[in-house]
Symmetry: C2
Subunit: 449 residues, 2 copies
């Protein structure tokens, strides 16, 4: 059901997109600062995003990595025409108090069928931010329960928490890493350190921030240097845990992405993560792996942390984006609640997405096209050392740094790219064929420099 | 399309619901602490919620006030069968960068058509929490821009914000009220003060909390006492603003619900809110009215703040629940962004909900049934002074306090009720007929005491 290839009719944004931006901005006073162009989602298909000017682009960015199996996948369209499913879309329940009849079934079929190793509980949420916010709350509650032991909250806990003061609202912290991105609500934002524009002017918490390893790529070629850098970072983590405990703001949990995404596609070794998890355990901190961007198959495994080969990778794993519903896996029950607690209509889509992934062996496909992609990037990088550097990736979750002015022409045929790097976040239906299509176009652009 | 009346087959939760709870808890290790019972949403219709045991209950609580026009409204089912709408459900865009073609149209048809007085800008979000979180961020950014005047952020602003420190992450605060509920993510939670269970063990901000007026009902009968109480609270607000400025944590914004919902259905007069808004302006604080629970027509006007009769009620108005999409209205553009920025499929439903509200004059209906409801509650309260007290409400957004043990039998035919009070949060299609149905049942229950 995919198109043959890209097809450009105008420059991008084209005249219709520009008109829409003006309309939205001046007629309706809406904020359009970040709009790339307007899309025709009806006409978009598979790996191709069609805009309102009829341009058809190979989409390697897929709505910030949130379209799992391409646009308008027939399986999802079919699901919509099944009359049994209508009620799930029309009646959004308060899932925490009044779940629908098929809730246990759908949960088993979807999220429980892909649970990370060692985790049997899952809490659905509606987006990446509330997934992480509530995961942090779960870690704080867990930590305080542990401290209190058998005894329940004290009278002082109870009275002080209502006015935002300790001990009821304790001075606990979450340790995060430089370059991390975990969301933009106030709790998440205190652990996000990717861009100034996210953080500026927003009050925050005095929580510890450890250095994320700055590795050299390809990782295999610099294993000694990289191991040293990782050891330095782990040492710093332990120092910070001790320091913040002494400060009276103990670290309740450590949060980390298996690949730092918004922070610039920064990788680290399996060994690093496993040792980090051990440090967390040693100091009594929960270990939270944020798979909001890496989960869902784009690394060639369903979860990026599976590449670590550990059967006890984490205490909490959060997800969203490609999984359509947000949420987190965990090990212990906590008192987490809100109005919607997710959205069963997204879960319905997820069930079907997982069927497609299994039926079409999409994880293997991703591993295959990922290999073709990274090898192609290595080749181009060897060919254009002045323009390209630091090709890196796992599965199709790849990136390459590009000299500033060289990226612009590419944006014309790719659905969005960054300032100094091209980040690949294609759908799971991005096949080897699409990799070669992309590499050819990329090569054409590069020869013009 | 509504049913004739409630119909009970078993006690609630019935045997099938209990089985599902056991299944979810012991087989799937899921957290079921808050589950009331399992629902058959396919069979639910209008004001009636049907459970998996075939019990049909008059639903006055509507999924924590989030079902605007009843279950399975034909207009919404019809919308689902329109093939032009499929793509909106199947392809969720990153709205901030790649909006769909019909976005300006749909925005005009839906959210802009019901914009509060003096507000032309709207930012969609996905739930009440991210609506409030981002509204707070907008107020912080606005406040700092005002402080900086023409000059942009300093080098120190930029470097300090990346490590969670001032001046980049400034020590600004949001003033909230005792008994307030604005959500459970960490920023929102710092302004929420309704229940211990929401707050305990979660780190918070040292932000000022003013007393919300504790009025006597019916408001008209105690106007002198209530005016005194409101004056006391307003004085305290000014004191806190001054005190927190001196503390070095200036109040960037004040947030308040037009009727405190989760905190126990606490009302205040139009005069109180108008004077509060003036105090905010006087001290250079933004004024944020949280209409997440009150917005959408349940008070007999689309926004509860319309009852104040002000043409400049607020700087920010946030919404969610009955509006299906979250978001907030505002006056100035800010740099707010996240992956999804809402969900156009919810906006599609909202367009249709607004059509139904207009076509069926539902706001007038709500005003009418609200009057019948509050008068009925007054009568019962006069009849059973030992059991009932403090009947209060606006539109169908009503509540009455009930002696502890008297509420239980009612839960059997109402879709959920609180500990010490019955809160009414019916759909907008709750007609006078349903009011009388409820009052009769309620009366029957009360005679048993
Ligand atoms: S915070 Fe996740 S949907 Fe609102």
């Amino acid at each position: 059901f995919d198109y043959d290839g890209p097809s450009m009719k105008t420059t991008v944004p084209g005249p219709r997109s520009q008109l829409f931006v003006l309309l939205l901005n001046f007629v309706f006073s809406q904020n359009v600062g970040a709009v790339n162009f307007f899309c025709n989602y009806e006409e978009s298909r598979g790996n191709y995003l069609v805009d309102v000017d009829g341009n058809r682009m190979l989409d390697v960015y897929t709505q910030i990595s949130s379209i799992p199996i391409g646009y308008n996948h027939p399986a999802l369209l079919k699901l919509m025409t099944n009359p049994n499913n209508l009620s799930t879309f029309v009646n959004r329940p308060a899932l925490g108090i009044l779940p629908p009849e098929n809730f246990p079934d759908k949960l088993t079929e979807s999220l429980l069928s892909i649970a990370p190793s060692g985790m049997s509980r899952v809490q659905t949420m509606a987006c990446g931010s509330c997934s992480n916010e509530n995961a942090y709350k779960a870690m704080f509650i867990w930590y305080r329960n542990k401290e209190r032991g058998q005894s329940g909250p004290s009278a002082e806990d109870i009275s002080s928490c209502m006015v935002n003061q300790g001990p009821g609202c304790p001075d606990l912290s979450i340790l995060s890493f430089t370059g991390a991105f975990h969301g933009r609500t106030l709790g998440c934002l205190a652990t996000t350190h990717s861009k100034v524009i996210h953080k500026l002017d927003v009050p925050s918490f005095d929580w510890p921030i450890a250095p994320f390893p700055r590795l050299q790529y390809p990782l295999e070629e610099f294993s000694r240097e990289n191991a040293q850098e990782e050891a330095r970072c782990l040492e710093e983590v332990e120092d910070l845990i001790v320091k913040w405990r002494q400060k009276g703001k103990p670290v309740a949990g450590i949060v980390i992405e298996p690949i730092q995404a918004e922070g610039g596609d920064n990788h680290a070794s399996a060994d690093f993560f496993i040792r980090l998890r051990r440090i967390a355990a040693k100091h009594g901190c929960a270990f939270h792996v944020d798979e909001v961007q890496t989960g869902g198959g784009c690394t060639g495994k369903f979860w990026a942390h599976e590449h670590w080969g550990s059967d006890d990778p984490a205490d909490i794993v959060s997800f969203s984006k490609k999984l359509l519903t947000g949420g987190y896996y965990h090990k212990e029950p906590y008192r987490i609640f809100n109005t919607w607690m997710g959205d069963p209509s997204k879960n319905l889509f997820l069930c079907e997405v997982l069927n497609v992934i299994r039926r079409e062996n999409l994880l293997e496909e991703v591993a295959r096209s990922g290999k073709a992609l990274i090898n192609g990037l290595y080749e181009l990088q060897a060919q254009y050392p002045g323009l390209l550097s630091r090709a890196r990736g796992q599965g199709t979750f790849c990136a390459i740094d590009v000299r500033d002015d060289a990226t612009r022409p590419l944006c014309v045929i790719l659905g969005g790219c960054g300032d100094r790097s091209i980040r690949f976040r294609p759908a799971l239906v991005f096949k080897e064929y699409h990799v070669h299509l992309f590499l050819n176009i990329f090569n054409d652009v590069l020869t013009q420099f």
